[in-house]
Symmetry: C2
Subunit: 192 residues, 2 copies
């Protein structure tokens, strides 16, 4: 019953995610969002509730997307340790390109909205996902003898998550070109 939606809520959410990702929460207005989604205000409020609700849904969607892409990247048939190495390198490489300015939506949210408990729960969920997937991959590396017996995959995974956050920050600054290659070199030294 009732009139059918003329837009794809899923695509709209992804577009909103992109805009929040690029501009941040405070710097993105409902007018920005409506124009970028190609929707009237009524449609946006009707489908998503309001700015904050839309933002939270966008972050949640980001966490889910990230989990999928990370899972795919780490589930290689080859060397587990190489997969982790590749991930670190890709983070730095992405940061060096134009996408570096966007950074990571989790990083951005952690920094911009530290007092928003709901937003931080989503950030927590995203970082934990990274921790879990990295830990599993490092355990696989250890089982295959790529990582020495005395290394703790959990400790290493948490370290890597923190470092990746740093890479996303530095990737937004003018020092990125100078810093990130060296950062990756040192990090890879820890993955041997």
């Amino acid at each position: 019953m009732g009139r059918t939606k003329e837009f794809d809520p899923d695509a709209a959410l992804r577009a909103a995610m992109d805009l929040f990702w690029r501009q941040g929460y405070e710097a993105t207005s409902m007018q920005d969002l409506c124009e970028h989604l190609g929707l009237g205000r009524g449609s946006v409020y009707g489908a998503f509730g309001g700015k904050r609700e839309l933002f939270l849904m966008a972050v949640r969607r980001y966490v889910e997307d990230s989990r999928e892409s990370l899972l795919a990247r780490l589930s290689t048939s080859g060397s587990a340790l190489d997969a982790v190495r590749g991930l670190v390198r890709d983070y730095a490489e992405t940061a060096l390109q134009e996408a570096g300015r966007k950074g990571c939506l989790l990083t951005n949210t952690a920094v911009e909205l530290p007092a928003d408990e709901e937003a931080q729960r989503h950030v927590e969920s995203g970082l934990e996902t990274m921790e879990v997937l990295l830990t599993a991959t490092l355990m696989r590396a250890k089982a295959e003898g790529e990582l020495s017996e005395d290394r703790d995959p959990v400790v290493l995974a948490r370290f890597l998550v923190t470092l990746l956050q740093g890479i996303r920050v530095v990737g937004k600054t003018p020092v990125r070109q100078r810093f990130l290659d060296d950062t990756v070199d040192q990090a890879l030294a820890l993955l041997a």
Copy 2:
């Protein structure tokens, strides 16, 4: 000639720095600032120009303050490597306390205003300062035989700056308690 200022511009700038640090740029209004500084709007605009100008001055001040405090911390008479280790530990420890929510003004600015070239120049200046001071200290450690000959102080310094940015990000999230100790452990393993 003319009426004398009734407030200390230096103290006011520091108060503004605190507020921007805690709340971010967009989330801090001129009204917030006026109340927090105990000044009328006219005084603030007369002394600092406007919101953006005040913010940029605050960031510059932060860079200067950081340089002084970092220099003092690394200029120990004892072990150079211990000084660096203590710095990393202190970063994590600070992040675990209430101050962790504020994070680092450079980190916050890098993330929130990546498109503001002037702000990013100040961030660049701050990160370069960290790089230089850390490099010098690591060179001292190398000269004193605390660091093996094949280690590059510059590479290591840049890695540490990136990692410290990551610590400031993670320190703003609910995972801080679980992640930061392990992060520090791994980082210290690289300083041996």
